[in-house]
Symmetry: C2
Subunit: 200 residues, 2 copies
């Protein structure tokens, strides 16, 4: 029961990378098994079809990754405006897996698959909602502690910030350099600053 698990996981891991860089529909099963050295028999032993594998990528690879790297830190934040900015700065300019050229894995998959496949839509919605709610909780805590202005609406802000992130990742694809990201981050900083109480 050890080898089998690692086979399954290597399929998911490699598929995640291929889907991220090439899109879901453009990633063929033949490509996956070729780049993982897994045979078709093994692939279809672990997944009854391609979509089941795609859903497993969301639930077993993308979700845990996002939870550990972003949801958890947000839930522990005492300085939301600053921590949100740091997170975005990290995602856009520092993270070495998320290449500018390829955008955001969750954003890409949402755009491609949510109109086509209801199950994908639900899985991605869960992922996204969790991140948004974590951000809302962080903002609420910031309100309670007095750092954040009491008149802001957490849900509005969370949605606004996450939308901006997905959008700028799309802009990023159009440029060779990081200039879009740098300009975006400046305005994000100004926007987030404005959420904080002046006396802070």
């Amino acid at each position: 029961m050890k080898k089998a698990v690692s086979t399954r996981l290597s399929i998911l891991q490699k598929s995640f990378e291929l889907i991220y860089t090439h899109g879901y529909q453009a990633t063929s099963i033949d490509t996956i098994i070729a780049t993982t050295n897994v045979t078709k028999g093994a692939f279809f032993y672990h997944f009854k079809n391609k979509d089941e594998m795609g859903l497993a990528v969301i639930n077993e690879i993308m979700y845990p990754l996002m939870y550990a790297d972003f949801v958890k830190p947000l839930l522990n934040s005492d300085d939301p405006a600053n921590d949100i900015f740091k997170m975005m700065h990290y995602l856009l300019l520092e993270n070495e897996f998320l290449l500018k050229k390829y955008g955001c894995p969750a954003g890409n998959l949402t755009q491609e698959m949510s109109p086509v496949n209801q199950q994908f839509s639900e899985a991605l919605s869960k992922l996204t909602t969790e991140l948004k709610e974590a951000m809302q909780i962080a903002l609420k805590k910031g309100k309670d502690s007095g750092r954040i202005r009491p008149d802001i609406n957490e849900e509005q802000v969370a949605l606004f910030v996450l939308s901006g992130y997905w959008g700028i990742r799309n802009f990023g694809k159009l440029s060779e350099d990081n200039n879009y990201y740098v300009v975006y981050l400046k305005e994000l900083k100004s926007y987030l600053n404005n959420l904080e109480k002046k006396e802070f």
Copy 2:
């Protein structure tokens, strides 16, 4: 020379709709010719391959549409904060062609094709840059007339707003109703308000 032009145009028009609703790579030439009642011979008479057709869709359908509906109004705006909001409100809640489920045509195509095809990337970049610069010009005019705060950075704001739009269109795909759009627009209004001089 009349029928031929209309054949070509009907290919482009139908392709645009199919690409918008199904994605570029998922739209096959066979599907296009089936839904347009154009034969393969006619298709390949007008376009030497699929990508040439795709580029024509961007340049001859999407670009003029965007220019007339958004660039031009922005260039004529004397009240940028208000006009940008109205434009977004129209795009998200009123326009009947842009269905929530399918996102933004330019955003979709950018996400799918810019990592894959340099020519697509350039054509889309031109489209996007033009819109962004129109917004910057409108904001600059607003600054000059005193409506807009002199300390804001037009490029930052334009990029921030357009990113938000692309992002929220992606969010929209995940929900059945318009709630995401409504929440987003509230925060956008507050953000845009903050760009205006207080005495106004």
